[in-house]
Structure formats: C-alpha cells, structure tokens
Amino acid sequence: MIPTKNSANLTMSQSIFGNTYLKAVLFISLVIIVLITINSIYKNAVLVAPQQTNWSTLFGARELDVAFFGSSHTETDINPAYIPNSYNFGSSGLNYKNVFYRLSLLKENGLKMHTVVFEISMPIFTSALSDDIKPLDVNLIEALNKNNTELNNFTSARKACFSANESPTEKIARCMPVVGHGANFFLANQSRSMQQGELGWVNLTGDFSRYSEKERMDMARNLRFFRERSSKQFYDTTPRNSSWHFFLKSMELAKDESRIVLIIYPVSKEFEMDLRQLNISKKKYYEYILRQTRASGVDYVLLDYYELFFDSPEYFDNPSHLNIDGSTIFSKRLENDLEKHFIIP
C-alpha cells in the first residue's frame, strides 16, 4: 500500500486516489487517441498519398522499358532521367521481401516492364537489414485495398504490430511511423524528392573525397551494416536469410514477361579494403550468388560495376553510395551498356 502522509485521512485519500486513477486512465487514453490520430494523418499525408500519386500514374497506364529494384544503392546510384522510359523503385533499407512485394503490386496493377534490373550488391542480402516489410509498403497495400493471396501471405499491418520477432523500436517504426519523423509533415510536398524523387531517384550531395584516407576507412568500418561484423553471417558466402529466398522468387515472378538484369553497384576502395580486413572475398561471394542463380534456371544479364569508381572517391557520398556527380556518370555509363546488350534501343 502506498504510504500516505496522514493515515487518519485514509478515506479521503482513497477517494482522491480513486478519482486520480480515473483521471490518469482518461489522460493516458487521450494521449493515445491523439497519437493515433496524428499517426493516421501522417501515414496518409506523408507516406501513402505521395506514393499513391507517384505509382498510380504508372499502374496500368504505362509500359516501362527498364524498372530498377533494390535498396538505397539502387535508389541513389541510378538516375532514370538518363535511361529512357525507366523508373527507379529502389528504396533505402529494402531487402528482397520488399522487392518481391513491390514487384507483385506493380504486376498486379498491370504495369508492363520490359526489363527488370535487380540489385545484387552485398548489403541487400545482409541479415542486418530488417527482414520484414517496410511500413511504407504495408500502408500502401492497405491504401490500395489489395486483396491478393500472394500479397496476403505477407504479414498484414495489424499482425506486424504484434510480430514476436521485432524489437520494441522496430514495432514502433512499423505501427507508429510518425514517431520521430514529424519533420516529414513539412516535406510532404517534397516527399517525392525525399522518398522517390523524380522517376524514383534520390540524390546525395556529399563528397567522400573531402575526408582524409583514415577518415574514409573509419567510415567504411562504421557502416551500420557492420554492426554484425563479429559474425560472418553478414557477408557469409552463403546468404541463407529470407531476402535470398525472395530474390529467387522475384526472379521467378519477373522472368515470364521481362528480361532480367543483375547489377552490382560501384563501391569505394575503402569499402573493399574493409572487406579484405574481414577476410571476405568479393569474388567468392558473387561466385556463389551467380552459381545459385544459374541453378534456378532463370536467364539474366550480369552488369558488374564493383570496381568502377575505386579511384574516384569524389563520386561517392559515403563508402557505398554515389553522390549526384557519381550517379550522373554511372547512369550514363549504364545507359550505354544497356544499349550494348540490346536491352534498350
């Protein structure tokens, strides 16, 4: 029992506390209601509406020559303005579960993609990335009221809120995306540039070359992907997580109507040097990936740009993402290579 100041007034205290408990419950309920309301407005105005505007112009209304799928490397490295009739569906932190999800949505809505470009850079298969659906995609599915069996096999938004495998912060990010992201309210009109950009591209303006060599190595070492660097699982030569499983499913989904291109994006020399310090061989890693991919029976074209900018740190924003300059040069190069492979006219 909570000790009160004057035990002779126990009855008064009891009634005060009784009233207080009621008030406390009412207050907490109001806080929750307000937060849910703000969260709901956020999801619609900031997350879903811009995406809907963007994607609804693509659904069923267009054919794309080239569609790019992947994580932040796709999102920042490819500027579709240089590749005719293309779109960049990359998004930061995406793994292949999300890619499959997006691909399914687009095909479901009748978008024809002549060529699909899948990212196979190392980070996209890491278990360090969240292995579940980004809140954005969950919200988009709900907004579009899709009712597709394959898509419903994914965790629904409601179930995701109670998923047992998530940490509290991941749960909050999924169920209450407004928490910590209120600044995006003021950028809702610009959310295309923040999240999808013109034709999906997001540009980075940093200059990796302005840091000293030591600082660049430190940055490569401190990439957030490396928080699991103590276990080799991250860059294991045999990725076993669901991202890999959905990569194969994505290939399977795309193969009937689209040509498939697998792309390895440029990284900085410091990124490679750090991998070597971890005794990870890029060659062995990709040998495994490509061997497994060939075994799946799906035809593909491989474009490997891993070492393209090893001597050009000025093209990078950070150890593994290109800045505007790098992206421009890379996109032009990619356009030439796609032409050489008769992927685009």
Binding site: I38, L187, T205
Partner: protein, 590 residues
C-alpha cells in the same frame, strides 16, 4: 553498453517508472537501501568496472571526513589537503594523464629530446568530474565546520551515487542535499506530477531541440573549410542553442526524476541567454558548477576584495580551471580564458561606458538598452563556443577568422542585399508612421501631398510583394513590431537615434537568420529540423519566462482542460518531432 540507462533511452523509460513505483510501495525504512541499489544498477549500466572507482572515492571521502572532523590543528589541515589531493589525483589520472603526456611529448620533440610518455587511452568514468566535485565540496564544508561529517556510510554513498544526478549533476551541496536522504519520503501526487512535467520538458529540450540541431552542427564543424563565415556563424549559434538545451534538458530530467522521488536538486540554469553581461551569464549558466568555483576557489583566493590585478588573476584562474574541468584539451582552456577576458574587459571598460551613457542621456534601464546588452552578451558567448566545439585550437581560430572575414559568400552577400531591400522601405515606413498627424483630416496637410505619400507606400508594398515576396515578411513583421512598441511606449524617453539603432539591430539579426536558414543547407530535411528546433527553443524560453513570472500564466491554476491540452501537446511534440537515434548528452563526456 547496450543496456545503458542514459536518460533518453527506452531502458530508462522502463527503469524509472519501475523504480519510482517500487520506491513508494516499499516500507519507508528500506527507502535509502532501495535507492542505493537502484543507483548502483544505474551506474553499472554504463561501464560496470568503473563502479569500483566510484566506491573508492566514496569510501575514501567518507572516512576522511570523519577523521577531519575529529582532528584539530595541523593534523586536520594535513588530512584535508591529502584528501583533496587524493581526489584530484583520481580525476587527473583518468582525465588529464594523456593530455599532459601528449603535451610533454610535443615539448620534448620541439627541443629535440628523445622522450615519450605512453598514453593510456582510458575511457573516462561516467560522471567522474561531477561526483568528485560533489565529494570535494562535502570535504571542504566539513573542514570549514559548516557541515557535520555524515556517519551513515550508506546515506553518504547514496548522496554521491544518487542516480538522477550522478552522470551530469547538478553538483549538490551537503547542507541542501544530505539531510534529504535521512527523511522518509511519502507519496505526494502534486510533487510527482510536477516532477513528471519537469522531466517532460527536459525530454522536449533534448530530443526536440538539441538533437534536431546536432546533425547540421556536426556537418559544418567536421569540415569547416567547406563553409563560408556566415554558415560557420550560423552553425556556432545553433551549437550554442544545442548545448544549452542538451544540458538544461538533462538537468530538467534529473531534477524532475529527483522530485518524483521526493528530493529537491539545485537549479542549474536560469535563462542564461537573456543575460545582460558575461558576469550575469555565469550566474545563470551551470549554476551549481560556477557557485562551486566561486565558493571553493574564487573567494578563498580573495574574490574581488583584492587589488584589480590580483582580481584579474583570480578570475583567470577560475576560468582556466573551469575550462580544464570541461575537458583535457587546449580548446577548453581557450574557451575558459576567453570568458575571463570578457569579464576583465567589462570591468576595465565600465568607466568609459558609464561616461558614454551619461553624456548621451541614455538610460540603462530601458528595454532597448537591455535588448542591446542581451544581444551583445549572446554574441560574445557564442564566439567563445567556437573553441568549445572546435576539435583543435587551429580549427577554432580558423573558424573565428572565417566568421570575421569570409562573410561575403554568395549566401551572405545575398542576405545583406535582401536586408537592404527591407531596410530602406522599413525606414521609410517608420518615417511615415512617425508623421501620422499628416493623415488626420484635421491636419493642414495638402491633399496632394497626402496622396503622393499614400501612393509611394502602396508602390513599395506592391514592389515588396511581387518582386521581393519573401522580404515582405520582414517588412510586415518589423513594421508591425515598431507599431506595437511605439504604441506601448516601451521605448518612451529613448532618443530617436537609439530607437532606430535598435530596430536596425533587430532587423539585421532576423534578416540574417531567415536568409541563412533559407540558403545553403544540405537538404530540406536538415532545414526543417533546424526550424523545428528554433521554434521549439522559442517555446522553451517562453515557458522559462512564465516559470520565472508565475503570475503571468499560472498553469497549475488553469482548468483541467487547459492543463491537459498543454501536457498532451508536450507529449505529442516529443514523440512526433523528437529525434530518437540515441544521441549522447554533451555534458556526459565531461
């Protein structure tokens, strides 16, 4: 550590309510043991092994105080000095060993001596600067006979280890804090509510204001050579806002947590950026530390009851030690000494300033004068922050040099031009407004002349709106402010030129800020973060003002609806606009 109980972590948000609830459910006689256990758990959540250092200091000072109290004469003084030295040697070992070693190495190298001191690269024990100072204060008070030595080891340990304050203060005084641990605490709903509200304000300052700004400050200060003087100045001012809200936010959380548990900790900040002089600033900033320096170093050295030269030396010593207390780096020494220079210069120039105000009939008590004093103090403090934040002295001087000389980047020049576009029509409007009698139909002003003036005003408004759209905002804001101020007679009796000078300063400051914010930021998200932080800062300072003037808006006397609206808005603002990527509190590194 992954499970550290730093205030802005989920771990603490779980830890604290559990601790507070069990605290009041336990029988009173177990309260201090329970708090001691909670404080122990709190401390080991950072670097567990360093609890041994803490226990060493506690045990040493506990027994030393009892012995000092028992002794007399030379033995007492000897014990006292030994204890002080023992405490200082611990902090010296962890904090200054590498600093002194690296400087000795540099010195040896410069004179060609092949000598080197190995660095230890030790992680600083959390809160060591704070709890050792608290302990030293206790020893000094016992030695002076102002306080009895605490006989209860557990209570003394709790006095040092008390978890709300151990990490970054406020540094407590034994007279104020120790007796509180002897009293039983009973659940007091009002105190708990006030404490919780104070904690909320602390979180607001930390995650909504301070952490919003930090990214941009880090960006600019990591590569100062890439930025113009105006951008460096802007980043410096933002850092000043960041460190204030970070530290005062921490203090609010600490005081609020203590209040929930029934304890009262000393206030540490009193709207320092509204100080009218550097001396006043140091009476409002980190009050517990500066009062410690005042009582235990400055006054024993003679304070201001000595010759001017000796007084200057006393001030320099205090600020030198203050600088070193903040960190083992020459930049902190420069920062401290800069403040000493400010205070000494203020005293030296006081006769000149007094003569100037007397001959110009300028009152020192009017609002405009106060605004100018506050602005000047704010700028001086921010110039000093350059060295506090810079990574090295060279970088600090580079930034200072850039600010003073490289202001004319495209951003700065454009800002200046925009300001001139505002100033000219603004001065014209001010002139027109001051001739308001001409509009009166009773005035003898010819209609034609009135008409010309009105047309000029309309043309200027048209030009402002369609040619310089954004600057009409400045025009409207400051003309509006001038109208209001004129009508309230705030500047009554102030010479006209001083009024116009005041408007000039206000216009310049805000024009620069608004132009800087609109230009040359890395991406829109960073700009939004900064604007949110600046808006939050204005709200926070308004709240502080209302707290210091409780009759202006006594929240506790408002209806439940109003109070709840404030609380819910605060919680929502923290959750929606807060930055939750765990950012360390700045003062924890000290």
């Amino acid at each position: 550590m992954e499970w550290s109980l730093i205030f802005n972590s989920i771990n603490f948000l779980v830890f604290f309510p559990v601790v507070a609830t069990l605290y009041y459910l336990l029988p009173g006689k177990f309260q201090w043991q329970y708090l001691l256990l909670a404080s122990f758990v709190f401390y080991i959540s950072f670097v567990p092994v360093y609890v041994l250092v803490l226990l060493l200091i506690i045990t040493l000072d506990y027994f030393a105080a009892i012995a000092i109290e028992a002794k007399r004469g030379k033995h007492r003084t000897f014990l006292f000095i030994s204890t002080i030295l023992a405490n200082c040697s611990v902090i010296f070992f962890f904090k200054y060993f590498d600093f002194i070693g690296s400087n000795l190495n540099l010195l040896a190298e410069s004179i060609g001596w092949n000598y080197s001191v190995n660095t230890l690269s030790l992680i600083l024990p959390i809160g060591i600067s704070f709890y050792i100072f608290q302990s030293l204060g206790y020893i000094i008070e016992v030695y002076r006979g102002n306080h009895n030595a605490e006989r209860h080891y557990g209570i003394y340990a709790l006095y040092i280890m008390f978890f709300p304050q151990i990490v970054a203060g406020p540094i407590g005084r034994p007279q104020a804090l120790l007796p509180q641990f002897h009293k039983l605490k009973f659940f007091n709903l009002e105190a708990v509510k006030e404490g919780a509200l104070l904690m909320l304000w602390g979180f607001f300052k930390k995650v909504v204001i301070a952490d919003q700004i930090s990214d941009y400050v880090v960006l600019v200060y990591n590569a100062p050579g890439m930025y113009s003087g105006s951008e460096l100045f802007f980043a410096t001012v933002l850092f000043g806002i960041q460190i204030y809200n970070d530290f005062s936010g921490y203090t609010d959380i600490a005081r609020g947590a203590a209040q929930v548990l029934g304890f009262s900790l000393a206030e540490n900040f009193k709207m320092p950026y509204f100080s009218k002089s550097i001396s006043e600033f140091w009476q409002r900033w980190h009050i517990s530390l500066m009062s410690w320096f005042r009582d235990y170093i400055y006054i024993p050295l003679g304070g201001n009851r000595v010759s001017s030269v000796r007084w200057g030396i006393n001030v320099a010593v205090v600020f030198l030690i203050s600088g070193l207390w903040h960190g083992a780096n020459w930049t902190f020494v420069i920062w401290g000494l800069l403040h000493a220079v400010y205070i000494i210069a203020s005293r030296i120039t006081e006769p000149i300033r007094n003569r100037l105000t007397a001959t110009k009939s300028i009152s020192r008590n009017d609002a405009l004068h106060h605004v100018l004093q506050i602005t000047t103090t704010f700028l001086l403090v921010n110039l000093a922050w350059i060295f506090f934040r810079a990574k090295s002295i060279g970088e600090g001087f580079f930034i200072l040099h850039s600010i003073l000389t490289y202001f004319s980047s495209s951003a700065g020049l454009k800002g200046l031009l925009n300001f001139l576009y505002v100033l000219v029509p603004f001065l014209f409007f001010t002139y027109i407004y001051n001739q308001k009698d001409i509009y009166s139909s009773r005035s003898g002003y010819p209609l034609a002349k009135k008409g010309v003036i009105i047309i000029c005003v309309l043309l200027l408004l048209f030009w402002g709106t369609f040619v310089l759209a954004s600057n009409v905002l400045y025009l409207v804001l400051f003309f509006g402010a001038a109208l209001v101020l004129d009508n309230t007679n705030v500047f009554a009796g102030v010479p006209k030129f001083m009024q116009w000078f005041g408007y000039f300063c206000i216009t310049l400051t805000l024009a620069l800020f608004l132009n800087l914010v609109s230009l040359n930021l890395i991406n829109p998200l960073v700009k939004v973060h900064i604007l949110i932080a600046l808006f939050g800062f204005c709200i926070a300072e308004l709240v502080h003002f209302l707290q210091e003037h409780p009759t202006a808006f006594p929240l506790s006397k408002k209806t439940t609806l109003v109070r709840w609206a404030v609380y819910i808005s605060l919680i929502s603002a923290i959750l929606v606009f807060g930055i939750f990527e765990k950012q360390q509190f700045i003062y924890i590194q000290f």
